[in-house]
């Protein structure tokens, strides 16, 4: 993996952590709408952290990016916990099958990444 690729992935990690925090605390139109989405996005961010830790070299990238991403994730996680009880399980019944399919695909991708990461230690 080149230094450019490593930097790109590290910046993506920070961006997704910032988005996660914004969806936990930000304005209504950005906010997480249901528990399913909250769990899915939390697992997705965790997977991105694992991917960045396991398959990205940080020799040419400042670890401050990692620290920033962790801080944003912590802020986001606190917001999700605070709002979790008030959220519905599913935000709507419309096009439920499509969302379900997307979640299954996402789960498979996350599962694969986490399994590969586990096998590399």
């Amino acid at each position: 993996m080149t230094a450019t690729t490593s930097l790109t992935v590290a910046l993506a990690l920070v961006a997704f952590a910032a988005l996660y925090a914004a969806r936990a605390w930000g304005p209504e139109r950005l906010r997480l709408k249901d528990r399913t989405g909250a769990v899915a996005e939390s697992v997705g961010l965790l997977t991105l952290f694992v991917l960045s830790r396991t398959f990205v070299g940080w020799a040419g990238v400042s670890v401050l990016l990692w620290v920033a991403a962790v801080a944003l994730a912590a802020v986001g996680a606190a917001g999700v916990v605070l709002r979790f009880a008030a959220m519905p399980a599913w935000r709507t019944r419309r096009r439920r099958w499509l969302r379900g399919a997307r979640l299954v695909v996402a789960a498979l991708v996350c599962g694969t990444v986490l399994a590969l990461a586990a096998s590399s230690y």
């Binding site: 080149t2 398959f55 070299g57 940080w58 020799a59 990692w66 801080a71 996680a77 605070l82 590399s120």
Partner: protein, 362 residues
């Protein structure tokens, strides 16, 4: 404030604290070339910038040998490493296997044009069985780099920072028997071919590759800190290797592929090897003599011989595993040689070749 509003806030704060704690205790490693810690300071100064520019992270150890300087002509230095720090030398192992072929020829145990199948009888009648020991030594047998059926698992193992070569000797032979030859006579760098050569030489001698290497190369050279460990589980506290971008790698032992890259050594031992190669006392040193038909300098047993217009002819080989790189270069006519070992999978050719061609200011 009621209990109903306090509890969620406490849980949220605890969650944030857990995320912070876990995140900050799992900071990704960010290795950088360590400062000069052992050996000759002038040699360290001469190579530090080149090593850094070519991507060395963490540890580097190197040796420079100049026969003109007599017994004092072996100089070593290290960055975060000393003469006893162990490195995976990767495909530099092939030079030992090439020399073992020369030794076996000199002892009359094999002939260069003997077929592999006449030694490893399991392969008789297969395409692999028909190739000669000589063509295995300079990668012109036509055997692929690795068994084709290994490629998917090899890719996954490399992606997940693991040793991709875990086949036993029986499995290696079974896979070899199923291979088709690709462009025999042309240069195709083959870990499979070199591994088979090593095991064939051991079979003829009635021993294993590890014991053959020990008896005919390591013991005569006094390389007491050099070893082959066939099982990853048998390694105790190995030096951590890093990918070129700084990802920690699991050690490579290479199992049955050891004759192609399984040696672990120190710069102290490799300096002895370089010196013995230059003064001709290394077992099988004639393996380096160019005497084969081959492309890209592959005209000797395992060694590459590069003729240059305005610089000395170089006899060399390099090596790389998931987390280590090595480079050995010799100017045999000039009596100068260098070897560089690094625990980063990033080649340092300019360090070794630069020393051999230009020496350094002492």
């Amino acid at each position: 404030m009621t209990r109903n509003t306090t509890l969620p806030r406490v849980v949220a704060a605890v969650t944030a604290a857990v995320v912070l704690t876990v995140g900050l205790t799992t900071l990704p490693p960010s290795p950088h070339l360590q400062p000069h810690t052992s050996g000759d300071a002038a040699l360290a100064r001469a190579v530090e910038r080149t090593a850094r520019d070519q991507g060395a992270l963490d540890r580097v150890a190197l040796a420079y040998v100049d026969l003109e300087d007599g017994p004092d002509g072996t100089v070593t230095t290290g960055f975060g490493a000393d003469d006893d720090t162990e490195f995976e030398i990767g495909s530099l192992t092939k030079t030992f296997t090439g020399n073992l072929l020369q030794v076996a020829v000199e002892r009359g145990e094999v002939t260069p044009d003997q077929t592999l199948g006449s030694v490893l009888t399991e392969l008789a009648g297969t395409p692999a069985g028909g190739v000669t020991l000589e063509t295995l030594s300079n990668h012109t047998s036509g055997l692929p780099g690795a068994p084709v059926e290994m490629l998917p698992s090899l890719y996954v193992a490399v992606t997940t920072n693991r040793d991709p070569y875990e086949a036993s000797l029986d499995e290696l032979l079974a896979m070899a028997g199923r291979q088709e030859l690709v462009s025999p006579g042309r240069y195709v760098y083959s870990n499979l071919g070199m591994s088979l050569l090593g095991h064939a030489l051991a079979r003829v001698a009635g021993t294993t590759y590890v014991d053959l290497l020990q008896d005919r190369m390591l013991d005569p050279l006094g390389m007491t800190s050099t070893r082959v460990v066939l099982e990853d589980a048998d390694l105790d506290d190995p030096t951590t290797g890093w990918s070129a971008s700084g990802i920690a790698q699991q050690p490579w032992s290479l199992a049955a592929f050891a004759p192609a890259g399984g040696i672990r050594s120190t710069v102290g031992d490799m300096a002895r090897y370089v010196r013995a190669l230059l003064d001709g006392t290394a077992p099988g040193a004639a393996a380096m003599d160019p005497h084969l038909e081959g492309e890209l300098g592959a005209v000797a047993y395992a060694w590459l011989v590069l003729e240059q217009d305005d610089a000395p002819t170089l006899t060399l080989h390099n090596g790389q595993t998931g987390g280590f790189a090595s480079y050995l270069a010799l100017d045999r006519a000039g009596g100068r040689g260098a070897v560089v070992l690094s625990n980063t999978a990033s080649q340092l050719p300019d360090v070794a070749v630069g020393l051999v061609e230009n020496g350094y200011d002492r």
